[in-house]
Symmetry: C2
Subunit: 318 residues, 2 copies
């Protein structure tokens, strides 16, 4: 694959240099940015960031903040990524809350030919206000349009019923704003079951709810896998059955393991930040880099910025 991307690799210079020696690469497209410290996957993110000022994730964020890089890709600790971005990257004016999205495949839907959908936020925030939910909808729409090539991505608000009066006052206000917003293709409230069945291209919610929903799906998948393993030990017929099961399980795993799909974006900053899974191989990392480059090329962050500015201007106008 040829590309004209310029890659900045941030980390311990000697380690990166040693790795590059063993890999065919275009040296003129690669720059090493030295960072002496590393934050491990099991470290407490807040403590690690406060003590390791030269951690690679912080140095990489500063590279983006200074304009030396246009986007960031990381396969490291999600907690450290979210906190480092909050600390080092300028947010889009008017946006108070960043959102971590999860990309997941859905059952094929009528509304679009794209089987992938996006749920945000899944954990960068805990609780949010109506306006944050509206801005999450802008973020998700702009990203889905760029990455999935769906011209008018459908947006659903995660609620506890489809009627527009469901939820609390904040959810009803968010519903009204999204419904009346010409920038959004709003399909109304959606419920938990609409996430895996593909009720919308973009599903919007606060971090607490998104996080629980995603992990609930992981848990159901985990229980199913352990049932499959039990069955495997039971009989020959069951083992034959697993030829089928394995295919269905792969599909079910895909629903929960969003991390395999080119990375999950952290949105709300002036540059795209892509979180690749910690176990990403070379294909997954290459996909994450492609996704980051697409988001830059399509001006995803500028589009979000314009939508937020338009809404804010209309709101303050008499």
């Amino acid at each position: 694959m040829t590309t004209n991307l310029q890659l900045l690799l941030v980390g311990r210079r000697e380690v990166i240099e040693a790795d590059l020696k063993n890999i065919t690469h275009q040296a003129e497209q690669i720059t090493i940015v030295d960072a002496r410290e590393v934050i491990g996957m099991n470290e407490k993110a807040r403590v690690a960031l406060d003590t390791k000022h030269d951690a690679s994730i912080l140095v990489a964020m500063r590279t983006v903040a200074s304009g030396d890089a246009d986007a960031l890709v990381s396969a490291g600790s999600t907690g450290a990524l979210v906190l480092a971005a909050a600390q080092e990257l300028p947010r889009i004016p008017g946006i108070d809350r960043a959102a971590l999205a999860a990309v997941y495949p859905t059952r094929k839907r009528d509304s679009s030919s794209d089987p992938f959908a996006l749920i945000l936020d899944v954990g960068a925030s805990v609780r949010v206000r109506s306006q944050d939910l509206l801005f999450f909808a802008y973020m998700g729409s702009a990203y889905a349009r760029s990455i999935s090539k769906v011209a008018r991505p459908t947006v659903g608000l995660l609620n506890m019923g489809s009627e527009e009066n469901k939820g609390d006052a904040a959810l009803r206000q968010a519903h009204a704003w999204m419904r009346d917003d010409p920038r959004l293709h709003f399909v109304g409230n959606v419920e938990g079951n609409d996430i895996p069945t593909g009720g919308a291209d973009v599903i919007v919610c606060e971090g607490y709810v998104g996080n629980v929903a995603l992990k609930m799906a992981e848990g159901v998948s985990e229980v199913f896998k352990s049932l499959g393993k039990q069955a495997f030990r039971q009989s020959l017929l069951s083992r034959l059955g697993l030829l089928l099961l394995s295919r269905a399980l792969r599909r079910l795993k895909g629903i929960t393991d969003y991390r395999e799909y080119g990375g999950a974006p952290l949105l709300g900053f002036r540059a795209p930040v892509i979180k690749a899974h910690g176990r990403s191989g070379e294909v997954a990392i290459a996909n994450a880099i492609k996704v980051a480059a697409k988001a830059v090329r399509d001006g995803v962050c500028s589009e979000i910025e314009r939508a937020v500015a338009d809404f804010t201007a209309a709101k303050t106008d008499p």
Copy 2:
């Protein structure tokens, strides 16, 4: 099965009488309470309750409120049940929010020999305060102890991470109260994946989050079923595989279809209210009645009342 229960059947007298003619029954244990109106499953609950003052669910609630009945079982509209209870039944003193629980089977756990667990609230409330969460824990513990015969049911607080500082201020306060409460066997914060995998006997959360989590699991199960159906059409081997699949699917369905397990309790009132599934057959209805009788016999509501009174007294003491 013989029983000394006295049953009040609430509904159109002539319909109930006609049905009883075709059934062997102990006439001396059955009383018909006439109610002329019916609320359908697809009616808007609020509108129906406001216009049908003689609806069977309202008449049945009044029978409990007046002391003529000790508990209520309904297989009708959940929305109407929750609203009718709020309107007609006295709440336990100190309790502001009722909670609708879901009962579901989990993977066998170490903490108890009972494979069933309880999540509450799944939709009677939207948002709640820390104290409501604590009271949900009292409700769930008392109910699980009575119905599941687990002497010290484990209680988990549904959060977005297991560390005790996770979530917002309300979740942290609820965590601190539950941790320090000798009436509860609190195991700390649990995450979405802990629901199906059986992280606790009782999982406590606000209605919005519980509702989304439960429906997310239903959605994953639905996707899985449709994958199974596709596979069935594909090949003979797949069909053989479905002999296994069907068993695993039944188990997975059980995880989401909590309604098959003797009904789901609506807690927070001075009498037990049991919601049976709308498609309940005779076994399911009999189970729901048994569960209601057990809850009365074991004084579940009095136990919740004592715990709330103790907490309130300790809180207001200097």
